[in-house]
């Protein structure tokens, strides 16, 4: 992986990144990706393809009912927002 690829990923991840950091990361990723590439071998072995059993996840359902009273948490939550106005979070104009 080269510096430009790292910069592209940083853009996808919405993180400003300097060239120097991207350069450093590209070297580190070579080592990390080299190490993790082992899983391809592990999962390619015949056992893996046979292991199609479902993971141990269970659906937890509840009735869509009993909402809390509107607005009771608004002030507390908005107090954590960097900017708010009239009960709304403030963002910059998009269009």
């Amino acid at each position: 992986m080269n510096k430009d690829e790292v910069l592209k990923l940083a853009k996808l991840a919405r993180i400003d990144m300097q060239d120097a950091e991207a350069e450093k990361l590209s070297t580190e990723f070579e080592a990390i990706l080299g190490y993790v590439a082992d899983v391809k071998a592990a999962s390619a072995s015949n056992d893996a393809s046979a292991s199609q059993e479902r993971p141990e996840l269970r659906n937890i359902m509840r009735e869509d009912a009993e909402p809390h009273e509107t607005g009771i948490f608004t002030d507390k939550i908005l107090a954590e927002a960097p900017a708010s106005k009239d009960g709304y979070v403030v963002v910059k104009k998009i269009l």
């Binding site: 990923l9 996808l12 919405r14 993180i15 292991s51 939550i77 954590e80 927002a81 960097p82 900017a83």
Partner: protein, 475 residues
């Protein structure tokens, strides 16, 4: 005079019940110890100013004859567990001024159902990402047993606060070893429950399919007390499971399996191996049957981890946008705000993992990395559960080395990641796992603690406690 070095949670509870000292006196003893030495150790990010008030309330209840499992016991929490009204920064600048708007379920249980006094929040690697505590945005925590060395991570402050005898117990979170590895480095018991046994509601997410809250204590009996305090199903976390989810019908036969090839991994230092063999002999002397077992895919766990974990990190941390809460850095327009906020708010390791996660999930690479990792995870889990038909526990060292020096591994992320080689399989498989102190090795004239790692089948924490107590000679 309260001696925090000899007290345990269990003995302190007895003393409180008998009226030998009050919760206020015990809490004050903790505060005094913190004041005296935490300047050097830096285990705490904040000591809550209402700690003594909580202790007073506990004393009132004790006086009224109330008996709760942790009534009046001061505890400290990793800085990623929300306490309503208090800052929870996850060791990050992006949440430096964030105040929790609700209690995490674990905290609610500790305070309301068990009567614990929450003393403050403990330092940790940023967003629980690290194996040394060096990634905290608020400076590293030192190992109380040798301050030139790391306490392990990511629950660095939770470990150090107990090892320095500031408190009798603490909570951390374990995604790849972040409780068990620092427990080994500081001579404590550290435990990761079965995935889903402790609610993650109000735990700041790192990798949601792996994260689990668990205790640090001086004894196995104390770890059991803290585990029982926080476990249980929770409507606010749909991944929580009950005592009955996994059957406990298999009788405990004192059979321990050792994955020899895995234990002999490269990088395990010779005296760590000797220490491990001594622990094996000790189990034999205690009447345990030791079997060599084959777990050919278990060594792939760390590789699987470094795909699944960053993938989940990149998704989970997308929520930090400088709009809803946390740091906001102003840019030229809306999207530029995101770029600037996230560049300023996240530290180097967090950025590294977000980018890595973005890569393994990106089009063209998703199948090769994420898809393979999920398949390998299933394979490792199936293989491990198969092994538990024959043995009750799997035993390995907790870490390949004792606590390392500050800066020793920061230049090479992969070498840092390898510190978790033995702890990660329990997260990948969801199994409960506990590090128990196993003696010391000498480095530069200092005795440094080591741990052995016991791992049990899903839902079988009981086997961990039984074997752990026998190993440490606890009654």
């Amino acid at each position: 005079m309260i001696d925090l070095t000899t007290l345990t949670i269990r003995s302190a509870r007895e003393a409180l019940k008998r009226g030998e000292f009050t919760s206020v006196e015990l809490t004050q003893a903790c505060l005094d110890a913190i004041k005296e030495r935490d300047g050097e150790i830096h285990a705490f990010l904040e000591v809550f100013d209402d700690a003594l008030l909580q202790a007073q309330m506990a004393d009132k209840q004790i006086k009224a004859g109330k008996d709760l499992p942790l009534l009046g016991i001061p505890l400290v929490l990793k800085d990623n567990m929300l306490v309503n009204g208090h800052v929870a920064s996850a060791g990050s600048k992006i949440l430096e001024n964030y105040r929790a708007t609700y209690d995490s379920t674990a905290v609610r249980k500790l305070q309301e159902e068990c009567g614990a006094v929450i003393l403050g929040r403990a330092n940790c690697d940023e967003f629980a990402m690290g194996s040394s505590g060096e990634n905290s945005a608020y400076g590293p925590t030192k190992n109380p047993l040798d301050t030139s060395r790391v306490p392990g991570g990511s629950s660095s402050g939770s470990a150090a606060s107990v090892a320095a005898n500031f408190v009798l117990g603490s909570f951390g979170s374990d995604t790849g070893g972040s409780i068990r590895q620092p427990a080994a480095f500081t001579g404590l018991v550290g435990m990761k429950p079965t995935y889903g046994r402790v609610s993650r509601s109000g735990l700041i997410a790192m990798a949601s399919s792996l994260d689990q809250i668990g205790p640090f204590t001086k004894t196995v009996a104390d770890a059991e007390i803290l585990y029982n305090a926080v476990k249980g199903t929770d409507p606010l976390d749909s991944t929580t499971i009950s005592d009955a989810t996994y059957p406990k019908d298999k009788e405990f036969k004192k059979a321990i399996g050792i994955p020899r090839a895995f234990v002999d991994s490269e990088g395990v230092e010779p005296d760590v191996k000797q220490n491990f063999e001594a622990a094996v002999e000790k189990f034999k002397a205690l009447g345990y049957e030791i079997k060599d077992i084959e777990l050919p895919h278990m060594p792939y766990s760390l590789a699987v981890y470094y795909i699944l974990m960053p993938a989940e990190v990149s998704s989970n941390l997308a929520r930090f946008d400088g709009v809803k809460y946390g740091l906001h850095a102003d840019g030229a327009n809306g999207i530029d705000d995101y770029f600037k906020t996230r560049a300023q708010g996240f530290g180097a390791e967090v950025r590294r993992r977000i980018i890595l996660g973005t890569y393994v999930l990106s089009s063209g690479y998703h199948d090769a990395y994420y898809g393979s990792a999920v398949a390998a995870k299933r394979l490792i889990t199936r293989e491990m559960r198969e092994a538990f038909k024959d043995v009750d526990l799997i035993l390995t060292p907790t870490t390949p080395t004792p606590a390392f020096k500050f800066g020793e591994k920061t230049a090479d992320p992969l070498s840092m990641y390898l510190a978790d080689i033995f702890t990660v399989p329990a997260n990948i498989t969801g199994a409960p796992s506990m590090s128990v102190p196993s003696g010391t090795v000498e480095r530069e004239g200092k005795q440094l603690p080591l741990g052995i790692l016991l791992t049990a089948d899903l839902g079988r924490e009981d086997n961990l406690f039984t074997a752990g107590k026998e190993f440490l000679g606890e009654k």
